[in-house]
C-alpha cells in the first residue's frame, strides 16, 4: 500500500557505515524530503537481529548480504528486492590459520566460525578449491563478538571471519590469511534490500535510497579533506579510526558510482553466484523445511531470468534504482 | 450478650489428640480463667476460639450462631509469645488499634479524631506502665514491656471477647497488680467476656468468675494418644458480676511486706 513513512535498518559493517553517516549528516532527510517521505534509519549492533526484525516486518529496508537475504527473509516468505548493490567483499572475509600457511593444512582441524554465515560459505568455497569438503574439518559455532578473544586461546587454530575481526586477528604473530574473499570476487555482496511489495507500491522510496547512497558515496570517495573527514567519522562510529577504516575499505570493492553497480548486477556472475549460494543453503537445510530442492525458492535476476521456482519468487535483483541514479533520473 | 458455647470439640494434630471432646458453656460477660499443666492444650483452645484453627470435630457457637470462620474485631487477643508490630513505635502500636477500624481506607486518623485517639492511647500506655517509652520500637523494649504493650493494644479495641494467653507471666508483682486493676475495671465497664490462660492460681481466683482446669488423661507412656479434657470447672464464690461494683483487687492493698516469705504455695491442681 502507498505510504509515506519508512524504516530502514542497518548494522555496523564497513560497507554499510555510509548509511549511518548519511543519517547523521542530513543526507537521508534531504532525499526523503525531496520525495515527500520520512525515512527513519535505525542502527543495529547485532546484525542477526536486524535481519530478524526486517523479516518479521518491523522494517521496510535492510542492509544484508546476498546469502543472508536468501536464507532468512526470502526463505521466510518475505519477498525481497535488492535496491542497491553497495559492494562486494574483496578480502574482508578470510580463513585464518595459526602457524600454518596453506589452506590445505586445515584438514582435521577445528574451525571456529559463525555457522550458516558468509564465513561458513567462504570456508565451503575454500575447501572446494583444495578438493576437500566440510567433513575434513570440524566446525565450532563461535559468536563473532568473541572471535578475536577466541583466537588468542590455545585450543583455537583455525578461524573464518570478517573484518574488522580479520585485521585484528592478523596482527597476531603466526596468524596467516590462507584464503579470503578476494579469491571468490563478487560472491559475497553487501546489499540494501527492501520489501518487494512496499517498493512496488512506493517506487519513490527506492529512488530515495539510491539518491542517499550515491550522494554519500560521492562525499566518501572524495580524495580531499571532505572525504577523509567523512571516512574518519564512519571509522569512529564503527569503533576504529581513519586508518583502520581505510584498511577495511581496501578489502572492499565499493561500487561508488552507479554505472559500475549497474554493470555488475547485470553481469552473469550474479546468477552463477546465487546458484552456488542457494545450493549451499539447501545443503545446510536453510531454505526452509518445506524445500524439496534448491529450486524451491525462485530468484529473479536483473535481466528477468529466474533461478528455481517461478511460482515462488522471493528474492529479486533489479537495476531499476541504480540505473535511475546512473542516468541522473532521481 | 456474648454467650460462647463449645460443643464436643476435638482437636488433633496428625495422630496426636490435643483436645478430647470438650464441651463448655460460657455465660455472657463471664471472666473465665483457664489453667492446666504446660502442654495440655490451653493455647490450642484459645486458637480455636480465635478461629485461627478449626476443630477437627465438634463446633463452637457465639450467641447461638456458629463462630465466625476467621479472626475478627469482636475477639481481641494477647498471645503467649508477645507479638507486637516491630515496625511501629509503642504509641503507633496502640494507636493502630484505633486507626484500623475507624479509617477503613487509609488506616490512619488525622486532625481531631487522631488527637482523641492519641490521648486515649497515651492514657492506656501510662496505665500499663509504659509512659516514657511511647516512641521506642519494640526491639528496644524488655520482655515484660512488650507483653504490656500487646495488652494495651488489645485493650484499646475493647473487644466483646478478650482472649489472653498468660498475659501477665513476665510482669513483676507491682505492675501486675496495677494491670489486674485495669483489667477488672474494663471488664466491669465494657460489654466484655474474657478467657484467660494463666499458671497463677491466685491470679485465676482473684480475677475470674469461673476457673476451668484442663488435664490430659494418662495411661502409661502412651500419653500422647489421649487429649485434654475438662478436669475441674469451678464457679468462684462469692459470685462476681460484671458491672456490679469494683471489688478491690486483693494484691493491691495488701499490707504484706516483700520480706514476708515462707507462705505456702498454691499447690498444683490435684493431678
Amino acid at each position: 500500500a502507498p505510504k509515506k513513512d519508512f524504516k530502514v535498518a542497518w548494522s555496523i559493517y564497513v560497507g554499510w557505515m555510509p548509511w549511518g553517516y548519511a543519517a547523521d549528516t542530513g543526507i537521508v532527510k534531504k532525499w526523503a524530503d525531496k520525495y515527500g517521505l520520512t525515512i527513519e534509519v535505525t542502527q543495529f549492533n547485532d546484525y542477526v537481529e536486524s535481519i530478524n526484525q526486517y523479516t518479521a516486518g518491523a522494517f521496510d529496508a535492510l542492509t544484508v548480504t546476498n546469502m543472508d537475504a536468501l536464507s532468512v527473509p526470502a526463505a521466510g516468505g518475505v519477498d525481497t528486492t535488492t535496491v542497491i548493490v553497495g559492494d562486494f567483499s574483496n578480502g574482508n572475509d578470510a580463513v585464518i590459520l595459526k602457524n600454518k600457511t596453506k589452506l590445505a593444512d586445515i584438514k582435521g582441524q577445528k574451525v571456529n566460525l559463525v555457522e550458516f554465515s558468509v564465513s561458513h560459505y567462504l570456508l565451503a568455497r575454500g575447501l572446494e578449491s583444495v578438493k576437500m569438503t566440510e567433513r575434513d574439518v570440524k566446525v565450532v559455532n563461535t559468536s563473532d563478538a568473541d572471535m578475536v578473544a577466541a583466537y588468542k586461546t590455545k585450543g583455537v587454530t583455525a578461524v573464518v571471519t570478517w573484518n574488522p575481526l580479520v585485521s585484528e586477528i592478523l596482527q597476531e604473530k603466526g596468524a596467516n590469511n590462507v584464503f579470503d574473499s578476494s579469491k571468490i570476487p563478487g560472491e559475497i555482496m553487501d546489499l540494501m534490500v527492501a520489501n518487494t511489495a512496499t517498493l512496488k507500491d512506493n517506487p519513490d522510496f527506492g529512488k530515495a535510497l539510491a539518491g542517499i547512497w550515491y550522494e554519500t558515496m560521492a562525499v566518501m570517495t572524495d580524495t580531499g579533506e571532505k572525504g577523509a573527514a567523512a571516512r574518519s567519522a564512519m571509522g569512529k562510529a564503527s569503533g576504529t579510526d581513519l586508518a583502520g577504516f581505510d584498511s577495511q575499505l581496501a578489502a572492499t570493492k565499493l561500487f561508488a558510482k552507479a554505472p559500475e553497480a549497474v554493470a555488475f548486477v547485470r553481469s552473469p556472475e550474479v546468477g552463477a553466484t546465487m546458484d552456488r549460494v542457494r545450493k549451499f543453503l539447501f545443503a545446510k537445510k536453510l531454505l526452509g523445511d518445506a524445500a524439496k530442492s534448491a529450486d524451491a525458492i525462485g530468484i529473479e535476476l536483473a535481466d528477468g531470468k529466474i533461478l528455481g521456482s517461478a511460482k515462488n519468487v522471493k528474492f529479486r535483483f533489479t537495476d531499476a534504482y541504480m540505473a535511475a541514479a546512473a542516468d541522473g533520473k532521481l | 450478650m456474648t454467650a460462647i458455647r463449645v460443643e464436643h470439640v476435638w482437636m488433633e494434630y496428625g495422630d496426636q489428640i490435643v483436645l478430647e471432646n470438650i464441651s463448655l458453656d460460657f455465660a455472657p460477660r463471664s471472666f473465665v480463667a483457664l489453667v492446666g499443666p504446660s502442654g495440655c492444650g490451653k493455647t490450642t483452645f484459645l486458637r480455636l476460639l480465635l478461629s485461627e484453627e478449626r476443630p477437627t470435630r465438634g463446633r463452637i457457637t457465639v450467641d447461638g450462631a456458629p463462630l465466625a470462620p476467621e479472626p475478627g474485631a469482636d475477639r481481641g487477643v494477647v498471645f503467649q509469645r508477645y507479638s507486637v508490630f516491630p515496625h511501629l513505635t509503642v504509641l503507633g502500636n496502640v494507636l493502630l488499634a484505633a486507626e484500623l477500624p475507624k479509617a477503613r481506607l487509609s488506616g490512619r486518623l488525622f486532625g481531631a479524631a487522631r488527637r482523641r485517639a492519641e490521648e486515649e492511647a497515651r492514657a492506656l500506655i501510662a496505665e500499663v506502665g509504659l509512659a516514657g517509652a511511647e516512641d521506642k520500637y519494640p526491639a528496644a523494649l524488655s520482655g515484660g514491656m512488650q507483653q504490656r504493650l500487646a495488652l494495651a493494644q488489645a485493650l484499646m479495641r475493647k473487644p466483646r471477647i478478650l482472649l489472653l494467653d498468660e498475659p501477665f507471666g513476665a510482669l513483676d508483682p507491682g505492675i501486675r497488680a496495677d494491670i489486674h486493676g485495669l483489667m477488672l475495671a474494663l471488664w466491669h465497664n465494657c460489654e466484655m467476656s474474657v478467657v484467660m490462660v494463666t499458671h497463677d492460681l491466685r491470679e485465676a481466683f482473684t480475677l475470674a468468675t469461673r476457673v476451668i482446669a484442663f488435664e490430659r488423661r494418662r495411661s502409661g507412656d502412651d500419653r500422647a494418644r489421649f487429649g485434654a479434657v475438662v478436669a475441674r470447672d469451678i464457679e468462684v464464690w462469692p459470685r462476681r458480676i460484671a458491672g456490679r461494683g469494683h471489688p478491690t483487687v486483693s494484691g493491691r492493698d495488701d499490707p504484706a511486706s516483700p520480706m514476708d516469705i515462707g507462705r505456702d504455695d498454691p499447690a498444683p491442681l490435684a493431678v
Binding site: N52, F116, N141 | -
Partner: protein
C-alpha cells in the same frame, strides 16, 4: 470472609493456576494466526502444529549423519554443564557465605569483594576468561559460576546473619567452638535456605548457560538456540525455550521436595 482467609480448594486452585497460561497461549494462537494469514511462511510466530512437528523431529528423529537425537544430546550437554556449575557455585557459596556471615574477620575481608564481584557484568570480561580457562567446557562452567555464585554467597551470608543471635550465644555456653557452631548450629539451618537460593538462581544459571554456549560450542540447548536464531527459526527456538523452562521448573520442584523431605523442621517457625 476476608480475601486474606479465602483459600481455593484443589480444583479451583488448578483452574486458577491454568488461567494465565491459557491466556498467554490464546494470545499466542491469535497473534500467530494473524501473522500466518498475512504470510504463510512467517517465521516469527509459527503455529503450534509447526512447532510440535519441529520439536518431534528434533526429539525423536535421529540425525542422519551422527545418529544422535538432537534434543537429547543438546539437553545432556547443557545439563552436564549446568550441574557442574551449580555444584561448584553451591559449594563455594556454602563455604564463603557461612564464613562471611559467621566470622566478622572474614566478613571484613571478603564481604566488600564479593559484593563488588556480584556487580561485575561477567559477559564483558569474557576475553580474559577465555585466556585463563581456554575455550572449552571449563570457561562455560566458569561463566555460570561467576554469574551465580556471588549472588548465592551474598544471599547466604545474609541468611546466616538472620539467625537469632541467642542461638549462637547459647551454643557458646554449651561449649561449642567456632568450628562446631558452624558445623552443628549454622550449617544444618542454612542448607534448606541454600536450596531456596539455588532455586531462585536457576533462571540466571540457564541464562549464563545459554550465553556461554552461544559463544563457542557445538552442542547444547543454548548452542542450538543461537544457531537457529541466524535464520529466525522460531519453530525451534520457542519449543527449546519451553523445554528449558520445563526443565528449570522440574529442577525447582525437585529441589523444593528435597528440602521438605530432608528438613522437616524448616519453615515451621520455632
Amino acid at each position: 470472609m476476608r480475601l486474606i482467609n479465602r483459600r481455593p480448594d484443589r480444583g479451583t486452585a488448578l483452574v486458577l493456576a491454568a488461567l494465565p497460561f491459557a491466556l498467554v497461549a490464546l494470545a499466542y494462537v491469535l497473534g500467530s494466526a494473524e501473522r500466518l494469514a498475512e504470510n504463510p511462511a512467517d517465521k516469527l510466530l509459527p503455529s503450534f502444529a509447526t512447532m510440535a512437528e519441529t520439536f518431534g523431529r528434533l526429539a525423536f528423529v535421529a540425525d542422519a549423519r551422527t545418529g544422535d537425537y538432537i534434543l537429547v544430546s543438546d539437553t545432556l550437554a547443557s545439563l552436564e554443564r549446568l550441574a557442574s556449575a551449580l555444584f561448584i557455585s553451591t559449594a563455594l557459596a556454602l563455604v564463603l557465605g557461612l564464613l562471611i556471615g559467621l566470622l566478622p574477620l572474614v566478613n571484613a575481608l571478603l564481604a566488600p569483594f564479593v559484593a563488588l564481584v556480584s556487580m561485575v557484568p561477567p559477559l564483558a570480561l569474557l576475553p580474559i576468561l577465555f585466556i585463563v580457562m581456554g575455550l572449552g567446557e571449563a570457561s562455560k562452567i566458569a561463566l555460570i559460576v561467576i554469574g551465580v555464585a556471588p549472588f548465592l554467597t551474598r544471599d547466604l551470608a545474609m541468611r546466616v546473619r538472620e539467625l537469632p543471635r541467642e542461638q549462637i550465644i547459647k551454643a557458646q555456653t554449651l561449649g561449642a567452638s567456632t568450628w562446631l557452631i558452624a558445623l552443628r548450629i549454622v550449617l544444618p539451618q542454612i542448607v534448606p535456605r541454600l536450596i531456596d537460593g539455588v532455586r531462585l538462581s536457576l533462571g540466571p544459571a540457564f541464562l549464563f548457560l545459554i550465553a556461554a554456549e552461544a559463544i563457542a560450542s557445538d552442542s547444547g540447548l543454548g548452542y542450538r538456540i543461537f544457531l537457529v536464531r541466524r535464520y529466525l527459526a522460531m519453530d525451534v527456538i520457542l519449543p527449546y525455550v519451553a523445554w528449558i523452562t520445563l526443565l528449570s521448573v522440574a529442577i525447582d520442584y525437585g529441589l523444593a521436595r528435597l528440602r521438605d523431605a530432608a528438613f522437616p523442621w524448616f519453615g515451621r517457625g520455632a
